[in-house]
Symmetry: C3
Subunit: 341 residues, 3 copies
């Protein structure tokens, strides 16, 4: 896809300064811009780059005036950053706007396929699946029986969704994500071996959720594992059976949440955090990376850190002294000796 | 699949109280039961729900007598929980009882396919593969050359098994699991770059094993990485080359075991645990979540926690004092000053 | 593939002692060797096994002389270990030397396919993809638009590469690896919900890189996420957007590197390490497993450990005292009481 400065200025309602016919085909940072790139200048810190950048077009604020020669065609707008974001969104809409069913897909006759759906090669759509309008499913996905996927949701290549799960609208599910695999439930037989407990619930994901590559979300034993509206999960995250994550909570990579824990709304959870099973985490709680949560957090907005995490400032104060432990131990032993003698 | 109360009562040898013709098509907890659901009442704590539940059929103990009106058809049995579990198993047997080879699969002519095998679309079965009777392989799996999979094992969508590996009977392997990828072995050349050490062993998995979504099990450098009978692995677990895991050991999500470590039988290992390479872990050892195991554990049944984990009670006692370190440090400094003056 | 002792001796320029016609079809450790296996004896510690091994052929050093009867045919060479490695490499070259495009693949007409390329069944090659000579792509991979993969690189089954990424020569990418998924970037709207920041950069991987099963490497927001020449990544590793990893750095399984951090050359990073965002790690730094890196490390060759890691020896000294904290606390309280009275 190529666009010229004239076309872009029209979309942005901007004013061209330079060659209106110059074309761009990709987007770049101003300091890395090459011929054929569209860039922007929003932060004054980057102003020097506008004189050296090889980008073909640069979007700038109306207020910008050059004090040296500039190679690029400029497009002057009210808010350069907002305008660039607008172009970005258009770019993505065009990039991910595939429509049609690949002849190399396997689509069950009893499935319901909405308007403007895309199904890539080597993707299986099982019996009873409902894909609402504008759903995009890339190659090599598997959609199990009776799954529903609501409008505008994108599944990138290699997503696997087990039977009976529900995925909301406007979701972005990245490659390798597994939704609805069995929860990890076993009953011990006289403590030496284990019998599987059938996992017959499902996963229900609300709207506007994004899930990062290779994350796994297990189905509930009974009932549903629930991911709330607007939740953002990074890569390689584990969500166990019957977990519930409240709306607009964000979780960084490689964190794991054990069975039946309920996470509040608007929480921020760092990477590699472990949350034990059957806990409640209040709304707006923040958890530092690599922390271990072994008991419920009932205080809204609490910030915690550490293994068996507690208040983050207290943890860090203790950790500073932890570094002095050898010295403390020596001092204490000296004092003891002194007192003993 | 729909069943009526009469059919279910026959299977369970139970007694119907209510409409024998009422039909169910799914299973639910009593407190969440809707029309068309089959539920059960086993724990007296949940008795109040039987009067409000919308489930169409509820399995109850023989001894149960209602003291208010109940909408549902009841099926009275000796042991409601055991009967419900029996129905669950039947349900799963029917659900996962697919048979036949998809025309969209790629099955090598030199492979051996047993009776009642299912192979889904877009699955590759390479040369020399043996699939014993009743093996079920969902879409988008890859079975490398000379792999053997024994009877009744299920591979969900997207499992990849490299050449020469052996998977036992009655296994359940979840989506995205990788078996037999190369171990992480490199020889340093004058300490500045690395030469790959060929990984020519395999993975051997015994019977009755379950492996969670997106877990990875590397092939041995030489010999075999071994997963014992009845082992249960959760999601996103890493098992490195030449590891051995003893029978009936269970491991929670995101744990990693480094090369050549041997884990005993009947161990219970929490989530996000890291076990260093070349260690021995005795039988029945329990390891708390997020612990780091840096040396062998020789005591049978030992319970440990912490980074460079030690006895769990000792760790927790130390950790309580860790939280008091700032206060301790202050006290100590006061005492020191006092003594100095 | 079967070879006899005569053929192997010719390749290795070795001298046969025993039956030159005996055939082998697999490789094994000397202590586990069975009929049909080729083995080697390099470490004198293993000498006793040569008299009991059932391997058909054993490669030994020229200097080796038997003092008992040996069943195996021996091949005497200058350096038994080097010769065995040579055979291993040949074996792998033959094993992974598939050529040709499967009729069950989906290859876009605008893609460019070099000589001796292999493309397996159910793999998608999108528009504008360039595969250089001798690239091997196993079944069920997805190569997005305009991706370039340079010569001799192997992608095992199930690798997914998003559009515009560049993969260097001589790479080995294991099953389930995701390259180029969106970075985890969101802008908070009045702190209650999040708007996606489009991720329009890519991933650039240099030559001689190996990436373990199910690892994920996110594309840059703008610019590139960069993996340097000779980098070795183990399984289930997370590399976030705009990260750069310097050449010949090796990283063990389940480690995560947050956005925009730059890792130096020749670093060694253990498993389950977490590195926060926007940090710089100097060359040759070593980080112990499960450590958390919360600030930049500027000292070349520094070795660190711990949550908010510091010098490894200091950490371990403190940790020894950590184990004595209950005792220290008691002593301190006694002293305090004594002084108070």
């Amino acid at each position: 896809m190529k666009f010229n400065a004239h076309q872009i200025a029209e979309i942005l309602n901007g004013e061209i300064q330079g060659n209106a016919a110059v074309e761009v085909k990709s987007l770049a940072k101003i300091e890395e811009g090459e011929k054929g790139d569209l860039s922007f200048l929003a932060n004054p810190k980057y102003t020097p780059y506008i004189y050296t950048s090889k980008a073909s077009i640069v979007i700038v604020d109306k207020s910008f005036t050059a004090d040296k020669d500039i190679n690029a065609t400029l497009i002057k707008v009210e808010d350069a950053y907002a305008s660039f974001s607008q172009i970005l969104e258009l770019y993505n809409q065009m990039k991910f706007n595939k429509v049609g069913l690949s002849k190399k897909a396997d689509v069950a006759t009893s499935s319901t396929i909405g308007d403007d759906v895309f199904i890539g090669a080597f993707t299986s759509i099982s019996e009873g699946v409902i894909l609402e309008k504008n759903v995009k499913i890339y190659p090599n996905c598997y959609i199990g029986e009776n799954v529903t996927i609501k409008e505008n949701t994108i599944l990138f290549s290699g997503v696997k969704i087990y039977h009976d799960c529900i995925v909301g609208a406007n979701n972005i599910i990245h490659s390798g994500v597994i939704i609805g695999s069995d929860g990890f439930g076993f009953a011990a037989n006289r403590n030496t071996n284990y019998k599987k407990i059938s996992q017959i619930g499902n996963v229900v994901i609300d709207n506007n959720v994004e899930i990062g590559a290779n994350s796994t979300i297990d189905r509930a034993t009974m009932g549903s594992t629930i991911i709330g509206n607007g939740v953002k999960l990074d890569n390689l995250i584990q969500v166990a059976h019957n977990v519930e994550i409240g709306e607009h909570t964000v979780i960084a990579a490689q964190t794991g949440i054990a069975g039946s824990s309920k996470i509040g709304k608007n929480c921020m959870i760092g990477g590699q955090v472990a949350i034990s099973g059957h806990l409640r985490i209040a709304d707006k709680v923040k958890i530092a990376g690599q922390s271990g949560i072994a008991s419920s957090i009932t205080e809204v907005g609490k910030i915690v850190q550490g293994p068996m995490a507690f208040n983050i400032k207290d943890f860090q104060r203790s950790y500073i002294i932890f570094k002095k432990l050898p010295e403390i131990y020596e001092t204490l032993n000296k004092i003891k000796k002194e007192l003993d003698s």
